[in-house]
């Protein structure tokens, strides 16, 4: 029952409901479609379905690059997330709390990986590493360190955005209260600032993980020879075959990541926004 006094009001509520429904559907439909495509028996990813089968899932297991790729992607994403947080949390605190010349410029600079096409980032990083190698002799290209560093770069804008937004929303007076009660600057950050921006930290970590996990372009340039991330493996598979195996791989990816988030939620209680 739609409540409302006038016809216009009812129509207004109806249209809001409709927009919400459409919006939500647009978000969910592609996901449902992937689940559906992963069980159709067509040998080419296409509709209508000729029948249904679970064979594509066993096909994923027969493709070692998907399993290894998933593992590598997860490890790189976790590494990039952890390092990214260690770098961006202090940076965000300084950016929000301190006033200094060039602050806005630095902020823009840290945001820039968002607007530069990822393929350009990948190529530029590769060239930078070559340059480093030419000058120092340190084997940077194809090293795991360089690979993860590239992914950290991708996560930085998201972390900075989310963390600075959270920090800006945090009333500084609370930190002053802590200081007046005898908390040293380190204690203020540890006991007050970080706990209070936890929603931002969790959101930034999730974004970082997802951005790193899904990245294709930077991985293609920087991955260590012999090691393939899942998105690269899927893309490469797709060059020669267009059967629903990739849909099955995606379903497994979505499921595992989804489960991981649910479990994480249990431990850190993501939804408890202070």
């Amino acid at each position: 029952m739609v409540e409302g006094k006038t016809l216009a009001e009812r129509l207004g509520r109806l249209s809001v409901g409709l927009i919400n429904t459409i919006g939500l559907s647009l978000c969910v439909i592609p996901l449902i479609l992937i689940f559906w495509l992963s069980v159709i028996s067509n040998s080419v990813l296409s509709l209508p379905a000729e029948g249904y089968t679970l064979n594509w899932f066993s096909e994923v297991w027969r493709q070692p690059q998907f399993i290894n790729g998933f593992y590598l992607s997860a490890m790189v994403a976790i590494g990039a997330t952890v390092i990214g947080m260690l770098v961006t949390i202090p940076a965000a605190i300084v950016l929000v709390r301190k006033r200094f010349i060039g602050r806005d410029a630095i902020m823009q600079l840290l945001m820039s990986p968002l607007i530069v096409p990822a393929i350009v980032i990948g190529a530029s990083l590769y060239m930078t590493m070559v340059e480093l190698e030419v000058r120092t002799g340190i084997p940077a290209t194809g090293s795991m360190v360089g690979f993860i560093a590239g992914h950290v770069l991708l996560t930085i804008p998201w972390c900075i955005r989310l963390l600075t937004a959270n920090l800006a929303g945090l009333n500084e007076v609370v930190e002053e209260a802590a200081a007046s009660l005898g908390a040293s600057p380190i204690a203020v950050i540890g006991k007050v600032t970080l706990p209070l921006i936890r929603p931002g930290i969790v959101a930034a970590a999730i974004f970082s993980f997802v951005v790193s996990f899904g990245n294709l372009e930077v991985s293609m340039f920087l991955s260590t020879p012999g090691q393939l991330t899942l998105p690269v493996a899927i893309l490469q598979y797709l060059q020669w075959k267009i059967d629903p195996t990739i849909a099955a791989a995606s379903v497994m990816q979505v499921t595992i990541i989804g489960l991981a988030l649910v479990i994480t939620n249990r431990f850190v209680n993501l939804s408890r926004m202070v």
Binding site: V44, Q65, V134, M144, V232, Q236, K241
Partner: protein
């Protein structure tokens, strides 16, 4: 993954490699061994190499193969970027014919001949050059759905037949070959695509469908939204095998060649092993495997395919003589303009 290695192993190996390359300068021509990195397309292209070369032929040679999987554009960018490195990241780079040409133009490729890769002597002259080893090849053909196209097409002209208007598709990323094909039936040539543009605009008027990628085209053929297209023979073979309702027709204008090359960058670290690997790529086993599963014809003229398979993927002596090779110089010079025209005038 069998060839996955961790950081520590990598470090050890890199050290061993440095030592071995230093040694190879003094100890002439010992049996090649050590680690080589093969920059290649992934998916089946890599899996077949793993299965038919690494596992079947390289196993006891002491050559340890690591695949660096990426698209050829990434590979080319990497090669250009690392030209100044004494220690390149790849020992072998798999490139398209055009890609190999570009890299050679840039002076990045090691000179190759049959003293280094003995199987090169079995390569027909049409494929030969002094900077790459042709791995596999295929010709450009017409794919059609016999349910809708009752008489098999014989020429690219048949795509312009008004009775198929609205059912013909072209592929966005294949703008070069599409313009080229149109040029071949409108007075152009492999060094003059200009007439093809006018011809394509006619096709546009008839309601041509433009699909972003090869994969999207395959799906359109499967759903019968598109009934005829220009495609590589090998793809046609793979799609047919996957149950897409298409037949393959060779155009009378001639077979334009697609070729997959293997090159050795000048700064490769283990060239001897790279030559051995490339030579193995030309052997009967791997060549047959690529023909069988991906539909590419062998470049080694001594390789004999089963007659049934040969009929689908290989070419007769007659056809082979007529194989046409794209004009790399023309393409390198005109690519930007072609792409621009395609995006603005044809697609726009």
């Amino acid at each position: 993954m069998t060839n996955g290695i961790n950081r520590r192993q990598f470090g050890l190996m890199a050290g061993a490699l440095a030592a071995s390359t230093a040694l190879s300068a003094t100890v002439a021509r010992a049996a090649p061994s050590g680690r080589i990195v093969v920059g290649t397309w992934g998916g089946d292209y890599q899996n077949l190499q793993q299965q038919f070369i690494v596992d079947a032929l390289m196993k006891d040679t002491g050559i340890n193969v690591v695949f660096d999987t990426a698209n050829d554009t990434v590979r080319k960018t990497k090669m250009l970027a690392e030209r100044r490195l004494p220690r390149g990241s790849m020992d072998i780079a798999c490139l398209t014919g055009q890609g190999a040409y570009e890299m050679n133009k840039n002076g990045l490729l090691e000179e190759l001949d049959e003293t280094k890769v003995p199987n090169m002597k079995n390569v027909p002259a049409v494929f030969r050059n002094n900077y790459s080893v042709p791995h596999i090849y295929t010709g450009r053909v017409i794919l059609y759905n016999p349910k809708f196209v009752k008489t098999a097409p014989t020429s690219y002209k048949d795509l312009w037949d008004p009775q198929y208007a609205g059912k013909i598709g072209v592929i966005d990323i294949q703008y070069q070959t599409t313009i080229e094909s149109a040029a071949m039936i409108s007075g152009g040539a492999l060094d003059n695509y200009e007439p093809g543009k006018e011809k394509l605009l006619e096709l546009k008027k008839q309601g041509v469908k433009i699909y972003p990628t090869n994969e999207a085209m395959a799906q359109a053929l499967k759903t019968e939204e598109c009934v005829m297209c220009i495609m590589w023979n090998a793809r046609g073979y793979m799609w047919k095998k996957a149950g897409i309702p298409v037949e393959i027709a060779v155009p009378t204008e001639g077979l334009v060649l697609y070729i997959s090359e293997m090159c050795v960058p000048k700064n490769a670290q283990n060239k001897e092993a790279a030559y051995a690997y490339m030579n193995a790529m030309m052997e009967q086993g791997p060549q047959t495997a690529f023909a069988q599963s991906m539909g590419y014809a062998p470049t080694n003229s001594t390789v004999k395919l089963e007659p049934d398979l040969a009929k689908l993927v290989d070419y007769t002596e007659e056809q082979r003589k007529g194989l046409m090779i794209q004009n790399m110089e023309y393409l390198a010079k005109n690519d930007a303009g072609l792409q621009d025209w395609w995006n603005k005038s044809f697609k726009g």
